[in-house]
């Protein structure tokens, strides 16, 4: 492949790969900004992936080509409800948030597979969906030399959605009263409390937002990539999203950038097969690249990341 061809392949496929990660990572940003650690993103994505496929299968006749989009809504709602488990444990029951997240991951997968077997008569995977997201080119823009083929030719609606939500999340977190309060609650909940901000309610809302976004992320993944749901549909994407959130320093746009970066690494490892020199590198190196990069980033080679101060600590009124 020529260099340009490589770019024309890598950029769109990185954006495509990044979309579910962006949404899920931003979900993580909301939760952790409010002071609730969310290792459970993976489990929430699994639920989203499952609900997305299930809805798509059952309602394709009703909604036609709109089905995948409506399925995202369904996954969003169910994801938010599922996140309540984490919220109740972490906020009301004052559980260790990391452990509660681990439980969420286990529960998400076990529940989805259990239901799959229940609904599909013992089978370990669902049928294939018939209504998919389709990519498109944006007229005129896709003809711009260089930029066009990279950004506007093979575009997915889901990628646009993810970028839009990233920008929206940035506005919400940094520009609105709600965002100011969320950040305050994650930094110094007692300060917020004395100012009349309802700490636990905000945390509930934030955790549910994270479930909703991870749900959408999962549903995008299952509907764009696998087309069905099984135990191997979501295998680590939630953890990648978590890494993207940290890599992006708990900032929505940073998380988006990190997710796209991971997308690039992934695409590179695929395009690598056809690029001179790169193709001689054993596959292992390319496979572990995103994970190694994340560690390097965390180790401060790409600037220091600091978590919200109060994250991980349940808020108990009156405890100094």
């Amino acid at each position: 492949m020529s260099f340009l061809e490589v770019l024309y392949f890598i950029v769109p496929s990185a954006l495509f790969y990044a979309a579910p990660l962006i949404l899920t990572a931003i979900g993580g940003v909301f939760s952790e900004r409010s002071g609730v650690i969310n290792i459970g993103l993976e489990g929430m994505m699994v639920i989203g992936a499952f609900v997305g496929i299930l809805f798509n299968l059952f309602f394709a006749d009703t909604f036609g080509s709109l089905t995948p989009w409506v399925a995202l809504l369904a996954a969003m709602v169910v994801g938010a409800i599922f996140a309540l488990f984490h919220a109740v444990a972490a906020i009301t029951f004052r559980a260790d948030q990391t452990i509660s997240g681990v439980a969420i991951n286990m529960l998400g997968l076990a529940l989805s597979l259990f239901l799959t077997k229940l609904i599909f008569e013992g089978k370990g995977q669902t049928d294939y969906i018939s209504e998919r997201f389709n990519r498109f080119g944006i007229p005129y823009l896709e003809d711009i030399p260089f930029i066009g083929p990279m950004f506007f030719k093979d575009l997915y609606g889901t990628t646009i959605l993810a970028i839009f939500i990233a920008i929206l999340a940035w506005v919400v977190i940094y520009k609105t009263p709600f965002g100011l309060r969320v950040r305050a609650v994650g930094e110094h909940p007692m300060a917020a409390d004395t100012m009349g901000v309802n700490v636990n309610r905000l945390r509930y809302i934030s955790v549910m937002i994270s479930g909703a976004l991870a749900g959408i992320g999962g549903a995008i993944y299952s509907q764009t990539v696998t087309g069905d749901f099984s135990h191997s549909t979501i295998t680590g994407q939630g953890f990648m999203a978590l890494a993207a959130m940290i890599f992006g320093k708990w900032h929505p746009l940073g998380a988006m950038g990190a997710a796209i970066f991971f997308g690039l690494a992934q695409s590179l490892s695929i395009a690598g097969n056809a690029i001179p020199y790169v193709q001689d590198i054993p596959a292992v190196y390319l496979q572990i690249l995103p994970y190694v990069l994340t560690i390097l980033a965390l180790a401060g080679f790409i600037g220091k990341a600091t978590a919200p101060k109060a994250s991980g600590i349940p808020y108990v009124k009156g405890n100094r």
């Binding site: 290792i39 488990f85 444990a89 009301t92 029951f93 004052r94 559980a95 260790d96 990391t98 452990i99 509660s100 681990v102 439980a103 969420i104 991951n105 286990m106 529960l107 997968l109 076990a110 529940l111 597979l113 259990f114 077997k117 229940l118 013992g122 191997s232 295998t235 680590g236 953890f239 978590l242 890494a243 940290i246 054993p282 596959a283 292992v284 496979q287 572990i288 994970y291 190694v292 994340t294 560690i295 965390l298 180790a299 401060g300 978590a307």
Partner: protein
């Protein structure tokens, strides 16, 4: 109610609640909880074969649980037990395979040590990063899990010349025992359980009897004060991760030298490391508690295999139950609250 009673009651109540939720899920889904749990119990204790298999399953759980618990005691959350276990598995299997003509007395310990060393190295990296660069161990260990998975797969391929598994280990490196197998009707029960129990004692000794344990706990609770008191905080953090990793690596050795006798490419994680978190949690990070936690989860996991065939219930139900148990143990605060309310009421009446 004494503190001790409460500490035992919380996990016990969580287990009961988990099983109740499991029963409700089965009921709502149209399965019979009675049939389901009978199949489960049958799968655990049904006969000597199943008991042997259950104990075999418990073995790596004990070690994974110890690994997580050891980290917790030193204030570290080692989610990387999974990866450490995988590299330990590989190291033991490789050493077990590669050397022939070694006497068993040397070969077997060598393979076991190799596993511990590999796990320790896998723990060393996040330990160093935490101690010297203050990188949070949770994320690093998660990433290390994936790196372990792919690296081991790559190594297997490289060493075997493109195959997906290494040759089986030599007889001189095996933990298996014809006697134990005969005793349990050809289950895969092996001597590893003794190693696991020995490690329980080791952890107990380090934490409760040694000066090192005092330091590790102190650093775990408050590294600033520990530093002020002249402890070498960095050394302790690294050491805690290394020891934790070594326990995890031994868990891998159990699979390599006992259960399987070889290592093969993995498409996904073994899950033992993640279950180790639950085991440690249920055991309140106490070595003896870990044995109980491992026994429970080992039994549940192994028994669940019998559920689809004997009762038609998907075996995922057991994972649901385990997740719920973790929820409740982690939410121990609420259970304690309810317990103290109850005992207060009682106390008031008797007074």
């Amino acid at each position: 109610m004494s503190n001790r009673t409460v500490n035992i009651l919380v996990p016990a109540i969580s287990v009961v609640l988990g099983l109740i939720v499991g029963a409700i899920v089965m009921l709502v889904s149209g399965y019979s909880p009675v049939a389901g749990y009978s199949a489960l119990i049958e799968g655990i204790f049904g006969d000597s074969y199943r008991i042997g298999e259950t104990i075999r399953q418990i073995t790596p759980y004990i070690l994974a649980g110890l690994a997580v618990a050891f980290g917790f005691k030193a204030g570290l959350f080692n989610i990387g037990v999974e990866g450490q276990l995988i590299v330990g598995w590989f190291a033991a299997a490789y050493v077990g395979m590669a050397f022939d003509e070694l006497p068993k007395l040397i070969h077997l310990p060598l393979a076991i040590l190799a596993a511990a060393a590999a796990g320790a190295i896998w723990g060393l990296i996040p330990g160093l990063l935490k101690a010297h660069l203050r990188v949070h161990e949770v994320i690093v260990t998660i990433m290390m899990n994936y790196i372990a998975l792919y690296t081991v797969n790559g190594l297997i391929k490289y060493i075997s010349g493109g195959k997906e598994k290494l040759d089986p280990i030599q007889e001189t490196a095996t933990l298996r025992s014809p006697m134990l197998e005969a005793l349990t009707d050809f289950s895969r029960l092996h001597w590893g359980i003794l190693i696991a129990i020995a490690m329980v004692a080791v952890m107990w000794f380090i934490m409760e009897k040694s000066t090192l344990g005092f330091e590790l706990k102190s650093v775990g609770f408050n590294l600033h004060a520990s530093e002020y008191a002249g402890m070498n905080v960095k050394k302790n953090i690294v050491l805690a991760m290394v020891i934790s990793g070594a326990f995890a690596g031994l868990g891998g050795a159990m699979e390599a030298l006992g259960t399987f006798g070889y290592v093969s490419s993995k498409g996904a994680f073994t899950g033992i490391g993640f279950d180790g978190i639950a085991v440690a949690l249920l055991g309140a990070n106490n070595p003896i508690g870990v044995v109980f936690g491992a026994t429970l989860f080992g039994a549940l996991k192994n028994g669940s295999l019998n559920m689809p065939s004997a009762a038609g219930v998907p075996l995922e139900i057991v994972n649901i139950v385990i997740a719920i148990i973790i929820f409740f143990v982690a939410s121990g605060y609420v259970i304690r609250l309810v317990l103290s309310r109850l005992s207060n009421k009682k106390g008031g009446e008797t007074k």
